[in-house]
Amino acid sequence: MKKRFLLLSFFALSAFSIAKAQDSTQTDPPLTITGSVDTYYKYDFADRSNLPTSFASDHNSMSIGMVDIALKKKVNKASFVGEISFGPRGQSQSLPNAAGVYDETTNSYNIQNLYVSYDVTDKLALTAGYMATFVGYEVISPVGNFNYSTSYLFTNGPFQNAGFKASYAFSSKVGLMAGIFNDYWNVYKSVSKLNTFGAQLSLSPIEGWSAYVNLLTGPSSGTEIDFTTAYQITPAFKLGLNAATFSAGNDYEDGGFTGVALYPQYAVSSTVTLGLRGEYFKTKAGDYATFGPAPGESVTAITATANIKAGPLSLIPEVRFDNMSNDAVFVKKNGSPSKNAGQFVLAAVYAF
């Protein structure tokens, strides 16, 4: 309650300085329109959809991801972002509908981001609305990911968090964000309360290296502690890492997950980059079910991806193999249980 009061006070105080901060001598930048479209073909080696990734779900099919359109405008210190998406990836695979359920057929709001922001000073910004989560390495937009299929850490983590947040940059190397968010992840409105606390410590110790320590904790949403980092070691070689642990909230007696994923990427030319994703993901014992291994079980996944750029168009061929600690999730081509699964994906992503 105290945290929520503190943040609401921040917004109230900032209102006093808004009128003062207007500078009518500058020309307003134009409305920015950006976005992407993506489409893919996937073949699962078991001749059926096997892997529980968030997107690229259709086997042996030329399928669509989404058309994603983001609008942004900033006047002086005040800005907004409105991002809408249409298609499986941009609707039920990443967004709840108006009723709060993941149903492709009814009443989608199609909103990925909808927030307003105000720069109180050069260092302090306040933001309110429905925002992509600050937790994790991978994102919903295919433009923001190197791999086309998604990690278990991404699929089982939050996608969006609605709430208020304040971000303060202590220097170009250290920043802190703190906010209060709806009681559950990924909901357009709270089920009953605004009581999930979130914080992010961002560090940039040296040129090319960024690191984020994230905390998201609430009685209903549970607690996730996440570490995300990326280091551009040479102009051609980049190494990323994501590690997280999650404990389920009050709706469950026990459970959660722990995992780590490593992302080495090497640019062999200006248009071709090769990369791997190696992930270990373990589900904690309890009654919390994940998209992946059963409680107490684990999975190891290796994904080899190429990113071939032709201007705004990226072609993404990808091969992925998953190995589960038991045979409860995957099946073989003949339908019998299997510990292993694999797939090939060829995706095309156009960014504008």
């Binding site: 972002v81 927030y115 290296w209 551009q232 980049k238 504008f352």
Partner: protein
């Protein structure tokens, strides 16, 4: 040494209002401007005022001043984007260094060390700098391709000209003192 380097720069770049290469094969926009009647000290003060106030700090700021030598150094940057009919976003930022040297009746300036920092979309649909990727324009062909490089060189030239033009206006005008508050005359309705 500075004088020697200056002579070389002058010989290479002064005749043309375009980007050239300096003795280190770096892109440079170099101009010499005469202002007869203005002392070196006056030009210096006005150029200093230019670096301190002409642009927002993220676009141009003073880096070093040497009044004894009549030398000023600044650093800045400008956004570059590909324009389309309805879509436009930041593709990157080109940073640069600016050097100004003054003498009685004339000054010279040059912009160099042009570096492109690519931008990418983040999770909040904002375009932000790619951490750790800074490429001097002289080495950007592999990163950008010929078409984009030509486009960015053109933008570097246009911005350099614009900065030089604004510097010229600052040198021409006396350094302003504190701005007077504009007063609006009251409307007297009594007598009509």
């Amino acid at each position: 040494m500075v004088a020697l380097a200056g002579n070389k720069l002058y010989a290479q770049a002064s005749p043309k209002d375009s980007l050239g290469f300096d003795e280190n094969n770096k892109y440079i926009y170099y101009q010499v401007v005469t202002r007869p009647g203005l002392s070196a000290d006056t030009i210096y003060q006005r150029a200093l005022y230019f670096l301190q106030t002409a642009y927002a700090k993220d676009k141009l700021k003073l880096k070093k001043q040497e009044p004894a030598n009549g030398v000023l150094k600044g650093e800045g940057g400008f956004m570059v984007s590909k324009k389309a009919l309805v879509s436009k976003h930041e593709d990157g930022k080109i940073t640069y260094d600016i050097n100004i040297e003054v003498k009685d009746g004339k000054y010279r300036y040059w912009l160099t060390n042009f570096v492109i920092i690519p931008y990418e979309r983040d999770r909040y649909a904002n375009f932000v700098p790619v951490n750790g990727k800074k490429t001097p324009l002289e080495h950007a062909l592999r990163l950008l391709g010929q078409k984009d490089l030509d486009d960015y060189l053109e933008k570097a030239l246009v911005n350099s000209r614009s900065i030089g033009e604004r510097l010229k206006n600052f040198i021409l005008s006396p350094t302003p003192t504190a701005k007077k508050e504009r007063k609006i005359a009251p409307v007297v309705k009594k007598d009509w």
